[in-house]
Amino acid sequence: MSNLIYTGSSWNFDKLYRMMDACEEIAVNDMGLDCFPNQIEIITVEQMLDAYSSVGMPLMYNHWSFGKSFIGNKQQYSRGEMGLAYELVINSNPCINYLMEENSMTTQSLVIAHAAFGHNHFFKNNYLFKQWTSPDAIVDYLLFAKRYIRECEEKYGVEIVEETLDACHAIQYQSINKYKRPNKISAREEMEQQRTRSEYLQSQVNDLWRTLPETKKEEKKEEKTWPSEPEENLLYFLEKHSPVLTSWQREMCRIVRRVAQYFYPQYQTKVMNEGFASFTHHYIFNKLYDEGKVDDGAMLEFFKLHSSVLYQPSFDSPNYSGFNPYALGFAILKDIQRVCSEPDEEDKHWFPHLVDTDWRITIKDIVANYRDESAILQFLGPKVIRDQGMFNLHDEVHYDDYRVTSIHNDRGYKNIRKSLSSSYETAAMIPDIQITNADITGNRDLTLLHESYKGKRLDEKTANQVLSHVQKLWGYKVKLYTMHGDTLLDVYECKQESNSKVGSDILI
């Protein structure tokens, strides 16, 4: 009697259920993973394109920019310039996995192991996701946002809603609380809060200034800057303090920043998340093969898929576009597994605390408690650096040459590790911009500070465009300083007339 879960390349629901059960058996009982319940959804190409353009979410409020990306993706896909992912997984409870209908049975199996157990465990256990996202509420929240924005379009007009969203989108990546955790509330509470909040805010706007006692005004003058602490969350600040926004526009700021916040853990854990999911599918599939549950043909197809997903081109290849997060994460975790179970002399020197530990526990600990930056700094070992032939280039803008500062040798390992790790810092990817001063008692100028990362400056054209968006939300003049340490690098000032607000034309 054959043990095989399936034969042949076409899938059906029966096979999928059996595969789910087999994967779950290994994931839970062998690897000890802890996952949300899974909801697998089979979708078509068209639906996958839809999901792509709503940033991977099952639903999203309407905005022209999603239409733009839909049209762009569709065009590229139909010309054969872009392949679509085999799956898309959403950090929700239950965990929603989209599987494409044209996948072969082996692809579906790999994807189930990869997403439904690998990513799922990561979502449920990684500290960033635990702290920053509420998987129970996200789908409901998006439903609320979609409805709210549609109502606003009906009540106040499509143009002004779009313009507000455009402006909010421009600063969404600077509208994330990096240290203060948001509290989790459900969608219904959210809706009730929104109602009371908007009523309250509106009732405050007019009276706030009139009712201020004279004496307090004088006290205010002593305070040189306000807010007293720099505010890292631009949209939060504008939502609460902008003198020109109406209550529904404030709610829009809130929606955009909450969605941005939801995605914050994702781009900090790309390498570890994909690495762990790949590690999981690799482990599960080999186990299935060992147990005689998949045949040789399936295993060959699996290896072909696995190696194409984990392909890492060299720096001089025309296909090179940075490190492949799947490959890097997988290599690191695989190496750690080896260090735990079959350590050599070098490992004892590098990872004395990991040697001879249970790799299952060690890897789960890494998954739970690290993000890309810290995981690379802690766990990128010399073997991976050697295997991949990593080397470090130093680039100084005013030099004509790059200098090779480290290669894969004893002198270089630590340097490479540190340098690679710091390239995954959020500040290296997203400019760090904060609000330092809002002159609300004077001319109402708003001052932003860009703390330069390693002397990096902003791209001038986009910086000016974004500033004009900020100005629309603030309503008065907005300035932006780029500081590197104590050195002032750039000053941007919006050339737009003051007191222009949302509703006036875009200045480019």
Partner: protein, 441 residues
Amino acid sequence: MANTIIDRRKNPGSKSSDNRQKFIKRTKKEIRKSIHDTLGKRSIKGSGDAQDVVINRKGIDEPQFNHNPQSGSRDIVLPGNKDFVEGDLLQKPKSGQGQGGGEGEASNEGIGEDEFGFALSNDEFVNILFEDLELPHMISKENKAVERFELTRSGYTNDGNPSQMNLEKSMVNSLGRKIALKTPKLKKIKELEEELANLDKFFYKTTKEQKEATEEWVRYQEIEEEIRKLRIRANAISFVDPVDLRYNNFSKKPAPISQAVVFFVMDVSASMTQDHKDLAKRFFMLLNLFVSRKYKRVDCVFIRHHILATECDEHDFFNNKENGGTIVSSAFKLAKEIIDDRYSPNEWNLYFSQASDGDNWDNDNEELLQVLSNDILPITQYFSYIQVGTKRHGYYNSGNLLQEYIKLQANHKNIITKHIEDTFDIYPVFREIFKIKGKNE
């Protein structure tokens, strides 16, 4: 852990169509410019195909704060070292062409980085092409006061007139609800009852004590209990509940009672060169597309003329070749006959669109003006005259019909004259002629 697999393939697709329409609306100006740029180059008659448009990215930017890659110092870790050692210098690529990790977007063939190319469906294309255009001065003929409505089907509603109940929809809902509530199946009850009846036969002739001693008696009681429970459940769940009911919905749509006829008049005489005919035909194709797409109840009459005028069908109008001299008045005399015969001005809005190189037999001009100002213009809503051909040194190298028509404008406000030199003029001129008054471009 409860894992589920759901087949979503049957879900209604095109979730993105709202966003797509928003995008198209936002870029309409750019799209129109793109259409204008390409209109001269291709046949506009091609239908059903998607229309490629290329628009400027300006206006659809989504700016973010970005790092300028040409600033600051950086350390880059790269994979795939072959023979570098510490201290090696590598020349930077010239002209800021970012090597590795570059964010340059893959540009489509022939499309610049500042441009965004995509395909419009034919309907979207035509809608944008003819937006804000109309046949001017159209009025409801005959009974102006009476507005007529047509009832059209429009989906289903939750309540309505019993005679409009949609049985199929309602029963599907009823069935769905019963399945969801796990209503016991009648078949199941029937089976149990049969079993009970069999047992009854079995107990026939046994005494009460004997009966109660058998194993079958236990089963008998179980079945009775189960039937009782099932019946209670079945009775509690109604067969058809008010929430299941769906009614056909009808909505009133105003029925247009204005009707119109457009006369296409084209000069096909020998003086019309191939270029002239091409321009005229392109203009008429656009007009034909416009009329057929925008108006349901508009007739078209095609008239071609040289010294004789003939009425023909659409295909002949655009395709047949003819030659000869030119007597323009013949066309309008024929038109007048057709009007008298089929299109009473009391019932019809009349529109004329004429294209010619401006040549006419000299002796005919007077008669032409007579026919136009006496017979045609007084009963016409709107008369457009297009003169095709190049202008040289301020003079038309073709005939002088344009000047004659301009004379007519003194007494007749409903005539408009335009000049088309090459294919790129066609669309702007067309928009000018049929622009809805009071709307700015």
